[in-house]
Amino acid sequence: MTGRLGWAALATAAAVIPFFTSNTYYLYVVISVGLLTIVTAGLNVLVGFTGQTSLGHAGLYAFGAYTAALCVTRAGTSEWIAIAVAVVITSMVGAAVAAAALRVSGPYLAMVTIAFGLIVEGVVIEWGSVTGGPGGIFNIPKPGLRTHYWTVMLAAALALWLTANLRRSAWGRACLAVKSSEVAAESLGLSAYYVRIAAFTVSAAFAGAAGALFTFLNGYISPDSFTLQTSILFLLALLFGGLGRIAGPVAGSVALTILPELLTRLLDYRLILYGSLLLLSIYWLPDGVVGAVSRARRSRPAPLELSLSPLGRGQGEGAGTLLVANGVNLSFGGVAALAGVALTVNRHHIHAVIGPNGAGKTSLLNVLSGFYALQAGTIMVDGRSIDGLSPYAIARHGIARTFQTAQVFGGLSVRDNVAVGVAGPRLGSPLSALFATPGGRARDAFIQSRALDLLEAFGLGELAHEPAESLAAGLRRKLEIARALATEPLLLMLDEPAAGLSPAEIAALDAQLTGLRDQGGPTVILVEHHMDLVMAVSDRITVLDYGRVIAEGAPEEIRQNPAVIEAYLGATT
C-alpha cells in the first residue's frame, strides 16, 4: 500500500515539474535521471535478478544512440522508427554478445563485458566515415525539450513497469533461481545459460532504448558519452539504489545524477566521489537505499485458489522397468567412485540405494542426473539413453532430484521456489512476461496455485510467503522435495531426505512416499541412512560399498545379508 503511494507521489512529482519551472536546466537534469533509470532498470534484470555483472553496458548504450542517430540522419526515418530500430538492433547485439560472453560467468563475465565496451568505444572513434569519429554526429533533428521530457518520463515508467512484471513472472523466478543455485535450477529443467542470455538481451534492449532517447536529448552524440566510466556509473547507480529492487534504479539514478550536478565545482573529483559512494553504500546499505527503507515492512499477497491436476505425469508406457543402468564407471583422478554399477528400477517402485559413507551413492545420483559425465556404461530411462545429456536436458526427460545439502533458492519465497519447479523450462515468451499479458497472468496464477497446493501437501502451507533462506534445515529438505515433485517427474531421486528430520517427521515422510506410490506417482530412488524408513517403504534395495554393488534384493533379504550387515548395518540386536 505504502509502495503504491510512493509510486503515485513519484509519478506526480515527475508530471508537475514542467509546470513549475521554465528553466530548461531542471528539465535536462530530470531527463538524465529518466535515462539512467531506464538503463539501470534493464541492468537490474541482469545483475539484480540473474546475478551476472556487466561493465560493458555503455557499449550497448552507444549502439542504441548511434543506431538512432544514423537512422534519422542517413535513412531519414522519424524519431519513433529510429528508437524502435535501435531497440531491435541493440537486443540482437546483446544476444550475440551474451551467447559468446556467458560461457563464463561472475567476475570473468565482467572482464569480457569490459572488453566489449572498449571495443565499441574504439570502433566508434576509428570508424569516422559512419560514426563521425571522435567528433561524433551533429545536427540530429530533435524534438522540443518539453516533448522529449514526456517521452523519457513515460519510457522510464514503462521500463520500471516491465521489470516489475518480469520479476513477478515465471521468467523472474527462473532468473532468481539461476542466481541462487545454478545446480538446482538445472535439476528442474532450466538451462542457466539460456536464462542468462535472455536476461542479458532484455538489459541490452533497455540500454538501446535509453541510448536512442539520449540521442534526441542533445541532437549530437560523441564517443565521450560511452566510456568505461559510464558503464561503471550504470552499475554504481544500481548498487546504490538497491540491487534486485524494482525501485532501486530510480533511487540510484536520482542520487547519482543530482549529486554530481550539485557538486559541479568538484568535477575533477568525480571519480573519488563515485568510489567513496560505492564503498559507503556497500558498507552501510548492502541492500541499497530502497532495501534499507523497505527492510521493516513485508507485504503478503493473498493466496490464490484454483483446482489442481493429479500428481505426476504417470509412469510412461506400460509397466516393467523405468531405469536400466549397466557397467557405470566413474573415477576421480584414478580413485574409482563407481566401478561397474548396475541398477534396474521398476516403475511404481521405491528403490532404495544404501551403503556406507563414501560408497558412491551420491556419485551415482550425480551420474544419473547428468551432473557427472558418464565415463563408461549405459543408462536407459523410459527406453531412451541419457548418455551425454546435460542436467537440464535430463530433468526435462522427467528425472527430478533433491540434494544432500538442500539447494533452496534464496531470494525467493517458499512458494516461489516451488513455482520455479512447476513452470520448469515452460517459461512462456519473455515478452508476455514483460508486458504481463492476460494469458501470461492466467498461466502464472495457475502456477502459483499449484505451488501452494503442493506446499499444503507437505505441511509447508503456513510458510508459503516466508523467504526460503529463513527455513530450518529439515524444512528446506521438505521444500526441496515439493519443488522436485512440482516438475511432475517420472523418476524422483531423493538424497537423504530424512537427514535432520525428527522421528515424527520421518513417519510423515514415510506416509508421503507410500502415498505417492499408491496414487501412481513417480518412481522413487531413495538414498537414505534411516533404516527403519528404508525398510518400511522400499520395494527393492541396492547396496553399494566402495563403488560396487554388494547386494540387491527385497528389504527382508537385505536385512539378513551377511555382507550388508558387516559393511553397513552392524550387528543388530
Binding site: 580413485v335 530450518a472 534445515a473 529439515g474 515424527a504 533404516m531 552392524g570
Partner: protein, 246 residues
C-alpha cells in the same frame, strides 16, 4: 557451578526473533541434549552461544564471564567449539589441513606433539578419513565431510563442544560409533551441548535434556525423565520409542 549458562535469551536473524526466552544450564562434564522439531530454534541457540549470532537480550555466561555478543573467534579461542550443521569444511584444502586449522583455536597444548596426539585420536575415531588425508576435503562424500567437521571440532581441544546434529548423513554403523565417541569425550572431561534429531539415542547418552518448542523451553530435566515423558514420546521419539533405536 555451571560451565555454561544461558538466561532469558532472545535471539534470531535481523528483526525476526527465533528464540524468545531461553534459559539453560550446562554443568562441567555433563552431556546436555536439546531436542525439538525443525524450526524450533536449536541451531539458533548453538549459533548464538558460539557468537555467530548476537543475542538481542539475555545473558550467556561461561566460567562466570559474560560472553554474550562476543565475536565467534573470541568464543572459539576461549574453549567453546561449534561443530556446525552444514559442516562448513574448507573444500579446497586437504583433509589434513582442515584438521590442523581446527587446532588454531586451542588455548593450551599447542605444541606439536600434543597436536599430533590429538590428530591421531581424531583419526582413530574416523578411520575412513585416514586414506583421504591428503585429498581436498571437497572430494569427500557428504558423510565423510560430516566426520571431518566433528574431528576438526575435537582438534580445538575444547572445554565445551556444541554439536549440531553430528549424526547427520552418517551410516547406521557410524551413528553408533559417533554416539560412543561422544560418551568417551565426556570421560575425558569435555562438556557437551548436543542438538540431535535422533532423540532416542541422544537422550540415552545425555545426563540432562531440554525440549525446545517454538523458541521456548517446553520441558527440562534429567534425560531419563524427559525420555519417559508421554508428550516427548509422542512428538520426538516416534511410535517405535520403546523399541531399540537402531
Amino acid at each position: 557451578m555451571s560451565a555454561l549458562t544461558v538466561s532469558s535469551l532472545r535471539a534470531g536473524y535481523g528483526a525476526v526473533a527465533v528464540l524468545h526466552d531461553v534459559t539453560i544450564e550446562v554443568r562441567p562434564g555433563e552431556i546436555v541434549s536439546v531436542i525439538g522439531g525443525n524450526g524450533a530454534g536449536k541451531t539458533t541457540l548453538l549459533k548464538t552461544i558460539a557468537g555467530v549470532l548476537r543475542p538481542v537480550t539475555g545473558r550467556i555466561t561461561f566460567d562466570g564471564r559474560d560472553i554474550g555478543g562476543r565475536s565467534s573467534w573470541w568464543v572459539a579461542r576461549h574453549g567453546i567449539a561449534l561443530v556446525p550443521e552444514g559442516r562448513g569444511i574448507f573444500g579446497d584444502q586437504s583433509v589434513h589441513d582442515n584438521l590442523m586449522l581446527g587446532a588454531l583455536a586451542r588455548g593450551s597444548g599447542r605444541d606439536a606433539p600434543a597436536v599430533r596426539a590429538d590428530l591421531d585420536s581424531a583419526l582413530a575415531l574416523f578411520p575412513a578419513l585416514v586414506e583421504k588425508l591428503h585429498l581436498p576435503a571437497a572430494a569427500l562424500s557428504g558423510g565423510q565431510q560430516q566426520m571431518l567437521a566433528v574431528a576438526r571440532g575435537l582438534m580445538a581441544r575444547p572445554r565445551v563442544m556444541l554439536l549440531d546434529e553430528p549424526s547427520l548423513g552418517l551410516a547406521p554403523l557410524l551413528v553408533r560409533e559417533i554416539f560412543a565417541a561422544i560418551g568417551r569425550l565426556r570421560e575425558q572431561g569435555v562438556t557437551i551441548l548436543l542438538v540431535e534429531q535422533m532423540a532416542a539415542q541422544a537422550l540415552a547418552l545425555a545426563d540432562r535434556a531440554y525440549v525446545l518448542e517454538r523458541g521456548r523451553i517446553a520441558l527440562e530435566g534429567a534425560a531419563a525423565t524427559v525420555r519417559s515423558d508421554p508428550a516427548v514420546i509422542e512428538a520426538y521419539l516416534g511410535r517405535r520409542a520403546g523399541a531399540d533405536p537402531s
